[in-house]
Symmetry: C2
Subunit: 376 residues, 2 copies
């Protein structure tokens, strides 16, 4: 096992996260044999020699030792902590020429990744609106209170709100980074990341010390999607990282959900597009997310019902009379009786009862509804 861990660490140092060539040869030969073959200078079809050229400068034992001093661990497939959900990435089509399961993950924090309870990704725009961050916070808090772990990317905006909401709901939360887990990006989120490292987990494919680059964010997004049973996008511009995460979740056949917003708000446009295209389901609250991400029946959503109204409690004749009473211009009982198709005596009795219930009023010229607030 130690050889496997070291081989995977060394290989991860040769290329970028999501490198398809590395993943291919690990599958073909196994990590240890592949690593050995590279060291022996083997000619491997499709493998750029630039990868092998970096091998001499890689020192996996030293990496592990340094990481350990920083309280950072390296987990690989086969480890108890390896989340099996990540292996589903092996069967997903690459996006932007990257993909497959990570060779391993660097983890900082007390949470064990294989024990995350029904994890849900909550992601979205960095340039979020206050509406978006309010909704993301509330949603993540609701998920946390219901016992779900919240996965996000620790970016400004929605990501930050998701982590904070999960913490407010006293739930586990995990940040997946596009740089080393010892780095703070953005730097103003250092306190948040330190807090997550103390109470949750901070995770990355990249070794400690590594900087974020654009492709690393794209590769990181597949880890967020794969660690989660489903992905919720709260606000997302038309071309954005959050939509990339949603694409990975789709590829994994996991639920993609979108929280709508005002159609006048640019950060909601990407979400509305996802829903319109059928790629995402519209969700408005945590219970609806749970319904889609938890095993069937475990969390059924009660459909919203309007409160019952006084007139729901009326008898059949009183209903008919009420329906025949004009909204504005008062009508005499004879006219109400004609519209209702009932006798004048019953109508007079019903009108009195309806007045007692505050539903109609009598004016000198006749009867009308006491309020015109709901005409159905």
């Amino acid at each position: 096992m130690s050889a496997e861990r070291l081989a995977r660490l060394a290989l991860s140092r040769l290329g970028e996260p999501g490198d398809l060539r590395l993943a291919h040869w690990v599958t073909e030969l196994g990590a240890v044999q592949f690593h050995d073959a590279l060291r022996a200078g083997a000619e491997l079809d499709g493998l750029n020699t630039e990868l092998a050229a970096r091998l001499p400068s890689v020192e996996p034992e030293r990496d592990l030792e340094r990481a350990s001093r920083l309280g950072i661990r390296w987990i690989v497939p086969g480890d108890a902590e390896w989340p099996a959900a990540l292996d589903d990435l092996e069967h997903v089509e690459p996006l932007h020429r990257m993909g497959r399961a990570p060779l391993g993950l660097w983890v900082r924090g007390p949470l064990r990744l294989h024990e995350l309870p029904t994890p849900v990704a909550v992601v979205g725009a960095r340039s979020a609106t206050t509406y978006g961050t309010d909704v993301a916070t509330e949603l993540a808090a609701g998920l946390a209170r219901a016992g779900s772990a919240v996965i996000s990317g620790a970016a400004y905006g929605i990501d930050q709100a998701a982590h904070r909401g999960a913490l407010a709901g006293d739930g586990p939360t995990v940040a997946v980074l596009a740089c080393g887990v010892d780095r703070a990006y953005p730097s103003r989120h250092k306190p948040l990341l330190d807090h997550l490292a103390d109470h949750g987990a901070v995770v990355s494919e990249l070794a400690p010390g590594c900087s974020p680059t654009r492709p690393r964010f794209l590769a990181r997004n597949r880890v967020i999607a794969a660690l989660s049973l489903g992905t919720v996008v709260v606000e997302a511009a038309v071309r954005s990282g959050a939509l990339n995460t949603a694409n990975w979740a789709s590829g994994l056949n996991r639920p993609v959900m979108g929280v709508p917003g005002p159609v006048t708000s640019a950060p909601s446009e990407g979400v509305h597009q996802l829903i319109r295209s059928g790629a995402a389901s519209l969700v408005t609250r945590a219970t609806e997310v749970l319904e889609l991400t938890r095993p069937a029946g475990e969390h059924l959503v009660e459909p919203l019902r309007a409160p019952s109204r006084p007139r729901d409690l009326l008898g059949h004749d009183e209903q008919r009379v009420l329906e025949a009473v004009p909204l504005v211009r008062p009508a005499p009982p004879e006219s109400v009786a004609r519209t209702a198709g009932l006798g004048l005596v019953e109508v007079r009795a019903s009108l009195v009862e309806l007045r007692r219930r505050g539903l109609v009023e009598e004016l000198p010229t006749g009867w009308r509804l006491a309020d015109d607030a709901d005409q159905g």
Copy 2:
């Protein structure tokens, strides 16, 4: 034809709009024969004698004459102006024990109902938010500018905004009322209704002078849905007339569309439920409505695209170098070359070109991205 018109008018005076018994016997016997049978005192199975009892007080010729003086016409199936789309109601399941096509329609205004160009219903909450009325106005104006007629119910809130938007977009607009077309309900909308009567059309199943009642609103909603190729709901409480109109549109197999809003806004809850249940498609603008309501291909929506960015224009190597440049902490060219997997000479040249384009910056300790505004 005159006998048919008079018979239908007389029959419409015997019951409420959407009365299933009247519709049944008109289908079975024809309007004229049914009317004759009633006058002859025939025993008609399933027909409440209360209907026949009202017959003596009905004076269709006088109704027509009075209406004519008010500039109101009565149209029935077979008339050139009768909109064939209404007849689809004959095949729709009743809702709230009412349904079927109207026996005829009272019309006030210059618009001819059979010539409405690609009519679309825009309906929603009376207690709408400013967001809702702004969006409804903009949507209706967009539909009008694209040549569509806008159908609504002249109520407060979304209905009013829909009519006003259509007028602002210089398009035809039709109000369907739950009272006589000579009445103004709500009374504060008298100027709007008078304007519609001068420039568009005001329509009702109910004879001039009739008052609105709750069931008349429900029956009216089926006419709004049936006059339109599709129905858009802008804001709607969970239990509301707009959702009833949407139900009629569904029953007619016509597109139902919903404009989302903030999940924190009660008037958007009904719309979100419609979309979640699959009953409505999410739409955000007029072009998306046209795509769903006009014949295929006539109005294809261009998918929203983010504007192209400077880096979309880069060559392959420059792209690779740019992707290897850190976001924050500057890196020397050697490090960038290692991440990019390219030679140092090409990398230096690319970095200079990228700087010229304003994409990267050089600091004493190395190179980094000029802005971190979009990491994908």
